[in-house]
Symmetry: D2
Subunit: 367 residues, 4 copies
Amino acid sequence: MSMNSFGHLFRVTTWGESHGPALGATVDGCPPGVPIEPEMLQQWLDKRRPGQNKNTTQRNEPDAVKILSGVFEGQSTGTSIQLMIENTDQRSKDYGDISETFRPGHADITYWQKYGIRDYRGGGRSSARETAARVAAGGIAREAIKALAPNVEIKGYMTSMGELEIDRSKFDWDAIDQNPFWIPQGAEIAQEWEDYLQKIRKEHNSVGGIVEVVARNVPAGIGAPVYGKLDTDLAAAMMSINAVKGVEIGEGMNAARLMGTDNADEIYMGENGPEYSSNHAGGILGGISTGQDIVVRFAVKPTSSILTPRKSIRKDGSPIEVVTKGRHDPCVGIRAVPVGEAMMACVILDHMLLHRGQVGENRGKIG
Amino acid sequence: MSMNSFGHLFRVTTWGESHGPALGATVDGCPPGVPIEPEMLQQWLDKRRPGQNKNTTQRNEPDAVKILSGVFEGQSTGTSIQLMIENTDQRSKDYGDISETFRPGHADITYWQKYGIRDYRGGGRSSARETAARVAAGGIAREAIKALAPNVEIKGYMTSMGELEIDRSKFDWDAIDQNPFWIPQGAEIAQEWEDYLQKIRKEHNSVGGIVEVVARNVPAGIGAPVYGKLDTDLAAAMMSINAVKGVEIGEGMNAARLMGTDNADEIYMGENGPEYSSNHAGGILGGISTGQDIVVRFAVKPTSSILTPRKSIRKDGSPIEVVTKGRHDPCVGIRAVPVGEAMMACVILDHMLLHRGQVGENRGKIG
Amino acid sequence: MSMNSFGHLFRVTTWGESHGPALGATVDGCPPGVPIEPEMLQQWLDKRRPGQNKNTTQRNEPDAVKILSGVFEGQSTGTSIQLMIENTDQRSKDYGDISETFRPGHADITYWQKYGIRDYRGGGRSSARETAARVAAGGIAREAIKALAPNVEIKGYMTSMGELEIDRSKFDWDAIDQNPFWIPQGAEIAQEWEDYLQKIRKEHNSVGGIVEVVARNVPAGIGAPVYGKLDTDLAAAMMSINAVKGVEIGEGMNAARLMGTDNADEIYMGENGPEYSSNHAGGILGGISTGQDIVVRFAVKPTSSILTPRKSIRKDGSPIEVVTKGRHDPCVGIRAVPVGEAMMACVILDHMLLHRGQVGENRGKIG
Amino acid sequence: MSMNSFGHLFRVTTWGESHGPALGATVDGCPPGVPIEPEMLQQWLDKRRPGQNKNTTQRNEPDAVKILSGVFEGQSTGTSIQLMIENTDQRSKDYGDISETFRPGHADITYWQKYGIRDYRGGGRSSARETAARVAAGGIAREAIKALAPNVEIKGYMTSMGELEIDRSKFDWDAIDQNPFWIPQGAEIAQEWEDYLQKIRKEHNSVGGIVEVVARNVPAGIGAPVYGKLDTDLAAAMMSINAVKGVEIGEGMNAARLMGTDNADEIYMGENGPEYSSNHAGGILGGISTGQDIVVRFAVKPTSSILTPRKSIRKDGSPIEVVTKGRHDPCVGIRAVPVGEAMMACVILDHMLLHRGQVGENRGKIG
């Protein structure tokens, strides 16, 4: 019942503040014998790392992950894995002035009200820096999935940012890794996104975005009704990411507008089992995977840490106009892409293990 | 780690199938001394109960809840409470023909693939009938909240159904209980909704809808970052409801379209503490309640159990056109309203207890 | 984190009071496809049932278990199983006078202090009657184990009662089911035990006892260090039984008296893998099963519900001499035998599922 | 459901191997505002630390604990606390020869069988070195208890070692901290124990022991029946410690020999509430604290790592005589004293928080 943990059998507990000595994740329940080297995790941390280009914060952290336990001679041992990322670039002075004030739209005020104490440096525990620990843990999950189901592929990308939206008719899976927004579109569109975002940055503003994460080739049968549903756990996993305000599976909120004749995915028999005419369900029926792509989308709000002054109060209740200097992303949605992928990987692995535990292998044959 | 349980300190485990002898909820962790009588729970079950009007299924179940344990002389004892609802109106013959077929858009196929056995009668465990147990448990949660924070008010209502949407400029809180759609609008609008739905029913179709649930006067400070966030648990709670495909907190998916200057709720000092100029956050910052209204929205897909034939397969893989007779709601979103309220009540109570456990009372003073 | 639940993947939540309408267990996580009929559970309940002979309470309950969910056409479906036992023989008047007094050595006083309310009838929730629910759940566990590892055999027996002790040199496994004390000795010894107990009963007294439970043919490799150890969970499971004051694994408390040269079980290679020269470890090393017999022992205190007057107080603090009339076992240890077996079965199954979940099959070969 | 975690609201997850770079504990659920400095934890680690005298292993580790998160300006923030202890004195060469062999009585063989991989250096995860993390976490728990109930006092001591036993008629609470065995007896007796142990060491042997841990002034009312009982959690906590084979509460296994007239603690009214004529119950009735001393005892087996040759096998199944060189305690029970205290502190705090969560303050008045 730890409040800093998620997962059932594959269970991740994160710890650490933005400006403390280090942060990390304690990963429990990893199957034994999974090949794990720091570089396997580092590649995902590098994807999330700030300071790579002008669309993300200029804070420059190597974010080098160390594996302190649970891995021996390059393989997981089945015991708890400790992942640590040292904080090396902490300019705490940037944040000193916020120790007595509350940034609007930020967790400053609620942490203070609840706990009566908070590490205000860089947002402390509420900083999005915590997601580095998730990404590292997600790297473990990816390797464990690879050992169990080598064809599973997990990829995230942005589908919208402010008023921009991708053109699904020109969806290009291969383009995703070729641009700084992880959008499934060509370089021209990426340039438009960049121009749009730079304009917002120069206006001392920020903007929200939507991230979609897809898991392909996940076997049918994982997920456990009625409260350990695959979509339930995905919703919780994504909503727990900083700044996320909405989560959708498959058709998502739009399902409310559809008729039953449109929404239900018709079934036919393919060569290797059931196939579906469409995927409104997002690969999940009754909380259990169908074998189709698992599709999750989440909305990230515009960061509240902006240079434009906003009205707020101090601890003593006096009014103040807050301007957040520090170094902040104009669109935190961009860096949420690898975080969403990591959460997807953790949830998928967890449910693969749960399924194996309770059921073993799928028991119902079709055809 | 029970898959049929939710909640941390206030923990609900549901059991039962649509056409078994009974279904119910085992409720653990209720504070002692809470006044509980069956009628207190029955009122919410009656709100959810089918057969009340032509907009919902004609299945007629009294849905009478029995309290089998944990309540003594009209008060909770602090031990586990068993709530049982007997199934009295089971016309299993209506469903016999689906034992070998899979309804498109339904959990039939995934339950079969995973478990190799399923109670196909009325959808068995995957039936929305399971939500009766949640509603009963939510009734317990409401009484416990009342004992701890008497001003808390929890109310759900529909905000859209297919192409219809409420007019927020004419939002009428008092109208909600006056119409069969639980919409916050006058009788005329309700009549429009009814005409629209009857048309869909006659066309042998179904339609989706959006439900919004609001909790007023919840004290600031409940919720526990970073994975036991109030919004994380609300997202999981709502997504676990049958047919839900999306969950939003406050601004929800729309946050992706906003600028930072628009989205952050400015703070000023009110008479009784901090107040906010707006509520884009839906009453939650950093996973902790702000004291504002907690606002959750979720989309319910159109039921896949319709009279219009849909293509599917049988267990043996052969093709079939499925027509679901039975008795089904043309818009299951309507009856999801009391279910959403129940989930909200359970989550709020759970977090009030968790907060009291870890923190006692809010420790940070403002002003 | 439910306080009325135990187990990880196979999770049992019990509910109900001694004199309420019913009690039972909600069993979650049972593998699908396990054959389950009420009679399979009833046999163990009959073993625990009071009123069978003069060594146990004369309360006469059929203790008939009903399966309300999770079983379809004689097989588990993988969803939550509800087991209910109705209370049919409640002579509440026997207990009326204890509503204002606290029996020495009984949970009356602590339940009252903590909760400020208690169902005092027959001990309410603290009654050993709760263990009927465990025994029913244990019946499910036994069938699920049978499906996974047919050779596993679980048996409990008494090893001591007051000043009597079994003679291990004449241990007779087959005699266990032939006498009312479940002792592994012949009929003559059983007669001695009976005479001894009747004497104690006539003296209006009660006596403690020790129960040993053995699980044979449990595969090596189940159990998960360092807090989900097999022995850790067994210790918790047994200590949670009413009146238990001590739990031992293998050599138990006596290990403190041994030298390292005596205690370590030497290993040699048998035909089917490693074998051991002795079993001081009780079949568990480092929290993981060795493949030897798993041996657990627990001490049950003499019941405090006796006819001999004992000094105590009333709710108002005034002194009183308490004589507990009701119907009580002179040695509750006897009926703890099937309860201990049930707990063993639940823990073994749970760890078999956990092992399959995290590891699949044992990965380390020897020889 | 993490296998390396214990506790409900105050939840500790440990990680690390004996000879890896570091080990530690992730502590979740600590109340905010608790004063915490490294020295507060270090004092308990120093008590457990090896190399202090010839009765314990000569391994010399400073065991310096670092607090990496969750503490800000000397106070807990309510977020997850990471405690890290670096391993500085790892003579791995001592252990190289055991990579292919299994020590009798040790977890070597079961870890191998289960996981197919193990960090064999110094026992890896199964090393008693893991308990350093518990002791550090216990230091946090002690400070949090101090903030909630300043009078609580937790102390452990040995009551027997091999054939030696303390003389309870000469019990001296103040002597405990004055001798290296933590026995409640004068220096003369301690000398006897030392002589006895040195003789065993010189004989290349080891010996078991019994540790008793007492918690004084714990308020009545903590503990939650029927599976979250205080004694249930204490039994699990103690049994999870390396080499523990038995756990007793109050009268313990001896309760089996008593009559009901002897065992029940009579109650009378004291100045500040109920008092008891004796404490056979060990301060717990029905799983809930009575306000008396909470008394737990556990037996620690003699370590299997001894210089006397023992028969065993290699991975390939071939026979071998094992002599464990390394540096090992002749009686690991001695260093189990601070570990038992730490587990007691964690369990007591956890249940104080749980009680506050569900109940608030005790609701039942007496007198």
